[in-house]
Amino acid sequence: MRFSRANSAAAAIILLSLTAKLVVSRPDLMPDLAFSGEAAQTFLTANGFSVEVRPHKLGPTLYGRKGSCYLMLAEAEVTGVNAALLASLAREVGPEQFLYGRRFFNQPPLVRPTLGLLLARQLHLMGFNPGRRPLWAIASNGQCRIEQMNWSALAALPR
């Protein structure tokens, strides 16, 4: 053939590239909402709350009570899939806030969580275990001083 060396090189590149995919191939990183629910339950219990967990297809919602403080806590998907649902549940408790890392927001932040999710997914697909930084929706009855609580246990999760 006219460019048999080029053909061989092309075949080698294709083979090598697909081998790389075969070796490191793993399913996409999907937020494990059951796991984050358990982490949230452990966190609230450790902080002295009595906890009620209400399961839902879009992830569990937790309700914590400690003295006069009553709050709702759930992982808010970065893509906003459960945003409307959580907003409607939060209305029954109090004003909704969002926690990303260690910062609180009145509206769900978009850019950093989206970039964080995209990066974590790519690192995961490349064989690393970067963990992920969940976005939390929190609503409280105004008696909780939630910003004074130490939320670092929920800032990052392994899956």
């Binding site: 590149i13 294709i14 075969l22 070796v23 893509t79 459960n82 409307a84 995209l118 790519q122």
Partner: protein, 290 residues
């Protein structure tokens, strides 16, 4: 229409061309397209094989739409039509290095990003109506499905879904907020629309088939062709919205419509509607070739 043979050379053109391995531009870009496509879809194919076994995965086209496979076939078919066979340019090799480097990374998204850049480059460095330009247009549509659409879907999910949700609400008289629709007259009926249910993926496929057929059959852009494209997109959105409206109005049929036979029916209905619209738009050129 510009005659490629008489047009002045493009910047970075023949004077910069090198004959490394004797490769011609169409050959080089055909190889890069093949390499990127295999690497973009490798993870999806492996997942399909893991989940359903090799035979079923092959039968299911590796969980990749027939429109996408047809698009790649069209790229190769169009590139074979190139009679100029210009030698690869120096800048082509820089793009080739990028696509190869991305393919060697173990993540398909890198190939998708590189393929998108390659498509933009090929579009910018080819002349109107030439096989290279026509192939570039199909490549752009294919890269749109695999790179641009998922990026948009991640970043703009709430806004894109809100468009679908409002359309469904206007069809059914239901109430909508963000990605949730409910019928105030039917307590308990509530539909939460997930990103996978958005019309965006279907719209991407409709645009791809439209671009593929028009470029494969050398259909010049006209009001009729543009209308066909708009009709294909409108059909996709309407069928998807009707499916959601049925799930809202008949919650007892949810599983059938969402995952069962109803999902298959809407998939085929969409394919026929999109293909029909695109073929009607391109019918003169298709018949002229026969």
């Amino acid at each position: 229409m510009t005659n490629a043979a008489q047009a002045p050379p493009l910047p970075g053109g023949s004077s910069d061309s090198i004959s490394l391995a004797g490769l011609r531009r169409p050959e080089l870009f055909a190889f890069l397209t093949l390499l990127a496509a295999l690497n973009m879809y490798a993870a999806i194919a492996l997942e399909a094989i893991r989940a359903h076994g090799a035979a079923a995965a092959i039968g299911n086209l590796m969980n990749v739409s027939a429109i996408v496979w047809f698009g790649y076939y069209a790229v190769f078919a169009i590139l074979r039509e190139d009679e100029q066979q210009a030698p690869a340019w120096r800048s082509d090799w820089a793009v080739a290095a990028l696509v190869v480097a991305a393919a060697l990374l173990p993540v398909g998204t890198a190939s998708a990003a590189a393929f998108f850049l390659m498509s933009v480059y090929l579009f910018a460095t080819s002349r109107r109506s030439t096989p290279l330009r026509r192939a570039a247009i199909v490549c752009l549509a294919l890269a749109g499905i695999r790179f641009v659409a998922p990026l948009l879907m991640t970043a703009l999910t709430q806004w894109l879904i809100a468009i679908d949700v409002r359309f469904v609400a206007s069809l059914t008289g239901a109430t909508a907020a963000a990605n949730m629709i409910w019928d105030p007259n039917s307590p308990g009926s509530r539909l939460i629309v997930a990103p996978g249910c958005s019309s965006l993926a279907g719209v991407g496929l409709a645009i791809t088939l439209w671009a593929t057929l028009n470029q494969l059959f050398r259909v010049p852009l006209s009001a009729r062709v543009a209308t066909a494209g708009i009709a294909a997109v409108a059909a996709t959105i309407t069928i998807n919205a009707s499916r959601m409206a049925l799930m809202l109005k008949h919650p007892e049929l949810y599983d059938f419509i969402h995952d069962g036979g109803g999902a298959e029916i809407s998939k085929w209905l969409t394919l026929f509607a999109v293909a029909g619209a695109c073929l009607v738009g391109a019918k003169h050129e298709i018949f002229a070739r026969e």
